[in-house]
Amino acid sequence: MLVRFFLEVRAAGIPASITEFLSLLQALEARVASCSAEEFYWLARLSLVKDERHFDRFDRVFAEHFAGAERVFERLLAEVPAEWLQAMAQRLFSDEERAKVEALGSWDKLLETLKQRLAEQKSKHEGGNKWIGTGGTSPFGSGGYNPEGIRIGDAGARQRRAVKVWEAREYRNFDDRRELGTRNLKMALRRLRKFARQGAADELDLDGTIEATARNAGWLDLKLRPERRNAVKVLLLLDVGGSMEDHVRICEELFSAARSEFRQLEHFYFHNFIYETVWKDNRRRQSERIKTTELLRTFNGDYRVIFVGDAAMSPYEIVQPGGSVEHFNEEAGSVWMQRMTAHFPHLVWLNPEPEERWDWTPSIRLTQELIGNRMFPLTLGGLDRAMVALRRKRINEGSR
């Protein structure tokens, strides 16, 4: 059963390896988790998923694979003799917690009830509503939400939890999609790294030391020099929605590739063209917007700005005030773009549309003019050219 689960986890794009799978089995063998679905979920996530961005994907696979499987844990529990339960409870509850339980009623009485429940469980297993995950009224079993409940397999009251952990999908926002197949993009983005000699003097300069020592008549004279460090800062602006739908995937691959390459990377979203606001969280694009002027204030000209978008729209959306399809913009998109290019000398636009088609789209030609022909296709070669262009300052306006 677990092998299939493991394969499904991998199929969902979580880079779990055999070593990690084996360590999960090892942990199960070492009884790190007892029989509770929730504990098993935590343990599996702990050993198989190594990035919070994959948590959401894992949650989905888990929910799918183990749909109804809490029943399995129930059944396990039903077959467990009461003495074993008691032993386990004693092992897992601290004295203090046991005292608390006993304050609620007698410990023995609770166990007695537990035994009864187990018997009931055997006889009416189907559709029972006293058991884990099916309504949460039982004081027993993991996931039981009775405020006075014993939580088998773990200690502590948990009644506040209304949804199974993996169904809550709290990590949805961390998912930045597919690392798979980004290797090529990574290679190209690596060109962006610029090794600037800055920072503290902390590396022994051997040649300098030899020379200085020789000048010093053989007495040692140490010379230090600053260490190399990756100093590239990147501002990523991604077009979402509308005509970009079919390009979103490739953009997100670029995004997850870019993540690991820079010391500072900020990303924002826009729709079609840049206007007075951008946003950070696509799900809250209506409520949490950030002013473009603030963007200009916050990030200085050192930042390399990369636009990603197909720039396919009506030309009015660029040149006319009020041309935006989404809202009334007081100033034309072209004005905002001019502000961007004036502030950020290092700026490129990556376009997922094939380069051959650019000439047929007036809005692409317009954008090209605005950014000084610094639009490149979203391919390996295009990226190479974009990275070279990013290293240089802005090309003069006239070159076509």
């Binding site: 360590s23 504990e39 935590w42 902390d202």
Partner: protein
């Protein structure tokens, strides 16, 4: 080995999933990688685990200039060179110039220690890769003296990361991974209760309410975290602020007092004040 279990301490509230993570790491003697928002107690965890299990703690704080080798040992060639020029006797033995790192110290410990590798993402990208064998086999080779250093007891290794850089896959494969979520209001009440047990119930409820309102302000650059909340409450107590002052229903006092402890960024403070102002006008 005894099956000791970690279940939080009197100063540290560990959620069930965190407890499970620590116990799994202890049982299988595998490093535990901890991530989470700043101020959610990642570093503190190692201190508390060491205390709860009664183990010695070794802390290795990683900086952007740290090298993996520094955790093992360093050969101080420069002072040896200098000593040789001065004709000192200790020059003859290379051992005098081998400086032990934190990892070595932890390996030499008499009982199983807890080793904290703090903020591993601050270092160079290659840093974690250079520690693969050491974390896996818990041994390393000192080339200068040709000796093999092996851990007497596999240390409980807790590694924290702030996600500034991505860690290499080979490294991740060897660790357990846990992400500390920002605590919900109930857990938070317990955390505050542990730190300030004498706090008036009312004040606590009001403070938490105000805190979560500040946290939910859209567009904040740095959301206030647990450690900032604790600082703030300390200030509130010191200033003897009455609970009523924290209630935002009163439009004139809508900005919580001493909010400088919660918001650490000029722009955030500005944004917050603006929002409060707009709010007030809307009434």
């Amino acid at each position: 080995m005894t099956t000791q279990r970690f279940s939080g301490t009197d100063r540290y509230i560990a959620t069930d999933d965190l407890r499970m993570a620590v116990n799994a790491a202890v049982t299988l003697a595998r490093p535990l990688l901890i991530k989470g928002e700043p101020g959610t107690g990642k570093t503190q965890l190692a201190v508390e685990v060491a205390q709860a299990l009664g183990r010695p703690l070794f802390e290795w704080h990683v900086k952007s200039t740290s090298k993996a080798q520094q955790g093992l040992y360093e050969y101080d060639a420069v002072s040896r060179l200098r000593d040789s020029q001065l004709g000192e006797a200790r020059v003859a033995d290379i051992r005098n110039y081998i400086v032990r790192g934190k990892l070595w110290e932890a390996f030499e410990s008499e009982e199983q220690p807890v080793l904290l590798i703090d903020e591993i993402d601050k270092a160079d990208i290659e840093f974690p890769n250079d520690l693969l064998r050491e974390l896996d086999r818990m041994e390393f080779y000192v080339y200068e003296t040709r000796e093999l250093v092996r851990a007497r007891h596999r240390p409980i290794i807790i590694i924290t990361s702030n996600n500034e850089k991505e860690l290499p896959d080979a490294f991740l494969r060897r660790c357990f991974f846990h992400y500390i979520r920002f605590p919900d209001e109930e857990t938070m009440t317990r955390i505050v209760g542990v730190h300030y047990p004498s706090l008036k119930r009312e004040l606590l409820a009001e403070a938490l309410g105000a805190f979560y309102r500040v946290r939910e302000t859209p567009g904040l650059k740095k959301k206030p975290s647990t450690s900032e909340l604790l600082d703030w409450i300390k200030l509130l107590l010191a200033e003897d602020i009455p609970p009523e002052a924290l209630r935002s229903e009163d439009p004139k006092k809508a900005i919580p007092p001493l909010y400088g402890a919660l918001l650490k960024n000029e722009q955030d403070v500005h944004l917050f004040e603006q929002l409060v102002f707009l709010n007030r006008r809307a009434r």
